[in-house]
């Protein structure tokens, strides 16, 4: 390992962290945008380097401040971390390019620099969460990302953005506090906050009610942050009313990183305690995941606002990921992890496309976009592609996830679950096809007469993601390979 | 317990009783000024309590905390008066031409 590369883990997080104050100090909108773009791409670069490094030489750790692990804060990078880092920074990079026009249209120019600072901070928080190996440090970065997310949501044009943001703030804070309680209880019984150390020391305490309650609090707390089914109340409004660029970033990354936290804490730290199987956690998780898949997909069908429909779809898709985790098998986990990536790509593409529609049409309601396919063919074609992926049509990433989920269900001997997984995709057909029909199958109304195709940068970034959802659907060996490795690494620590 | 400890303990006990009484006043009201006054008095007692605890635990260097209260506990009360008079903490808001952004 050469010298500069050694510091990659720190740089990946600290570079965005240091960019935010620079943006605030400079204040010029274009400089802010340029910096936000630059830093997103830089962290993408760092993340990809990290991923390559991990794939090549296995997990490694970076000691902040040079203090040895349980005393200082450790950055521990394994395949899962690096994969999530790459997902987050990739989505952020694309969205940052996209954001310029959309932010110009949705936010007054004096606040641009604040938007980009928030954008960068959100990225920083998410990256920090994904890479850290310390349970409390995770909380700190969770809050950085959460606070910036609240602001990003609250900057939406509609006044409902404010209530959405506040609701998110309250539920998010309750979730984070639950997380802190859980970590506190675990800390109480072990005396350490380092995840690896915790994982080692928890099994001896697994019989205590304290550790069991800690697990329960962590599950509920993280569940709130990742909008797991009955705890998703904040998500639909937040995604609907946030500025388009923010919605795309959040849809692609925020809940994903929370899912990562779930994996890291519940499987990584508590895996060895055997509590996952001793308590009915996986069963409950499975039921809730299935409920999410059906209820929220069904709700999505009836939404008049497309952003909202997609937001509900996101909750449903989180259900898929959780289902994969609930199988607690290598294939299931790998399916869940690969769906992290896949869903990030396709859902961000959809939100980007809808952002372009919002820019040109001024609304994302289904009755406002009839016939828009003729007017914005490229954008709506991206919607079609990403929508097909959401359904799980072959040659798209959605298919890959579904494939492995079903395989995991079948190898786990759960035929009915497999059937349900596939049945729920039919609901996706319904809500996706509604959009496709409205966009393509109707002649454009007179009010759309002057609508043009979205600006090139927006179309391009949308298509980068839409294209990615095909590319990685055509060849899922890379993503699936990493996901499988990550799943194996995770499962090593999980007691049978 | 030697007698100096006992002495501080006695003082702490008295302060504790006083704190409870102040809290009762804060709860009873009836006007909002009674509450403010009670909370302010509560602050003074807290300050003293912290100082006494410092002596009680033989770590009197914690007086810094008491000092903080002595210096800034009244800011809240001052803010209240401003609040009541003008329904605003910033009055006069003045020319806002420069902006905060």
């Amino acid at each position: 390992m050469s010298a500069p590369l050694e510091h990659l883990p720190a740089l990946a997080v600290v570079v965005p962290l240091m960019t935010a104050p620079v943006i605030v100090a400079l204040r010029r909108p274009w400089a802010a945008w340029l910096l936000a773009c630059g830093v997103s791409w830089a962290s993408l670069f760092f993340s990809v380097l990290l991923l390559l490094q991990v794939l090549e030489s296995g997990p490694f750790s970076y000691l902040m401040g040079g203090w040895a692990a349980p005393w200082g804060i450790e950055y521990r990078v394994d395949q899962l971390d690096a994969f999530v880092l790459a997902i987050v920074s990739a989505i952020a990079s694309v969205v940052s390019v996209y954001s310029r026009k959309s932010v110009e249209a949705e936010i007054d120019s004096e606040r641009h620099y604040l938007f980009y600072a928030m954008f960068v901070l959100c990225l920083c928080g998410l990256l920090g969460m994904a890479i850290t190996g310390d349970a409390f440090n995770l909380f700190v970065f969770l809050e950085i990302s959460s606070l910036s997310t609240y602001v990003l949501v609250g900057m939406g044009r509609d006044r409902r953005a404010l209530t959405a943001s506040l609701r998110y703030l309250i539920l998010g804070t309750v979730g984070a506090t639950f997380y802190v309680i859980g970590i506190g209880l675990a800390y109480m019984m072990t005396g350490t906050l380092n995840m690896a150390d915790l994982a080692q020391r928890l099994p001896a305490m697994a019989h205590t009610s304290t550790v069991r309650a800690a697990l329960a609090f962590l599950v509920v707390g993280i569940g709130l942050k990742m909008a797991a089914f009955p705890l998703h109340a904040w998500l639909p409004n937040a995604y609907t009313h946030a500025p388009s660029a923010a919605a795309a970033l959040l849809a692609g990354t925020a809940t994903k990183v929370s899912v990562y936290v779930f994996l890291r804490i519940v499987l990584g730290v508590f895996g060895a305690t055997g509590l996952l199987t001793a308590l009915p956690i996986t069963q409950v998780l499975m039921v809730l995941a299935l409920a999410a898949m059906f209820v929220c997909s069904a709700v999505a069908i009836w939404q008049p606002d497309l952003k909202r429909a997609l937001a509900y779809s996101s909750v449903a898709q989180i259900g898929y990921i959780l289902l994969g985790i609930a199988f607690l098998s290598e294939t299931g986990l790998a399916a869940g992890i690969v769906h992290l990536f896949n869903h990030a790509v396709m859902k961000s593409a959809l939100f980007l496309a809808l952002g372009a529609v919002a820019l040109r049409v001024g609304s994302t309601r289904i009755d406002a976009i009839r016939g828009i396919g003729r007017k914005m063919p490229l954008t709506m074609a991206a919607v079609l592609v990403a929508g097909l992926s959401l359904i799980g049509v072959p040659l798209t990433v959605g298919f890959v996830s579904k494939w492995y989920l079903v395989e995991a269900a079948l190898t786990g001997g759960m035929w009915p679950v497999a059937v349900l997984i596939l049945a729920s995709s039919l609901l996706a057909v319904a809500y996706v096809w509604r959009i496709v029909e409205a966009a393509w199958m109707a002649p454009p109304g007179p009010e759309l007469a002057h609508i043009r195709e979205a600006p090139t940068a927006m179309v391009l970034s949308t298509w980068v993601l839409a294209g990615a959802s095909v590319w990685f659907g055509l060849d899922a060996t890379q993503t699936m390979g990493v996901a499988r490795l990550a799943a194996q690494t995770l499962l090593q620590g999980v007691a049978p | 317990m030697d007698h100096t400890t006992l002495m501080f303990a006695a003082a702490a006990g008295a302060l504790l009783v006083a704190m409870v009484m102040a809290l009762v006043r804060a709860l009873l009201g009836p006007t909002v000024y009674d509450r403010i006054l009670a909370v302010n008095a509560f602050g003074t007692k807290t300050l003293l309590m912290i100082a006494v605890i410092g002596f009680l635990t033989r770590r009197p260097e914690f007086l810094d905390i008491a000092l903080v209260y002595a210096l800034i506990n009244f800011i809240g009360t001052v803010a209240v008066t401003k609040f009541v008079r003008y329904r605003s903490l910033g009055f006069p808001v003045g020319d806002n031409a420069e902006g905060e952004l």
Partner: protein
């Protein structure tokens, strides 16, 4: 020497505690916010003063002494400001001071 100091600080502490208690009792018993201000003022001045004096005698080094003195000084400056601000706010808000029936005539 130590005995004298200790006795003295005992007395001071008890006195301070007494004034604090009485002042707070006033806070509880007196009829309206203006009269209660006087009770609270007792705690800030006499109560705090005597308690601090008592502690001063027990202080292990001069650093602690200085800080104790500073506490009293700052209290002496902030306490009247607080009381005044509060009384003023209450008056401006239209709260009528409680007056004994017979003394009503004196009210401005």
């Amino acid at each position: 020497m130590s005995l004298i100091l200790d006795t003295l600080s005992w007395a001071l502490m008890l006195g301070g505690a007494g004034f604090v208690l009485i002042g707070t009792l006033g806070l509880l018993r007196l009829p309206d916010v203006f009269t209660r201000l006087h009770g609270a003022g007792m705690t800030d001045t006499m109560g705090a003063g005597l308690l601090v004096l008592g502690m001063l005698l027990q202080a292990p080094d001069w650093l602690v002494m200085v800080k104790l003195v500073l506490i009293v000084v700052f209290l002496a400056f902030t306490s009247p400001m607080t009381s005044h601000a509060l009384a003023r706010a209450a008056i401006l808000d239209g709260i009528k001071p409680w007056l004994r029936q017979a003394d009503k005539g004196d009210a401005p």
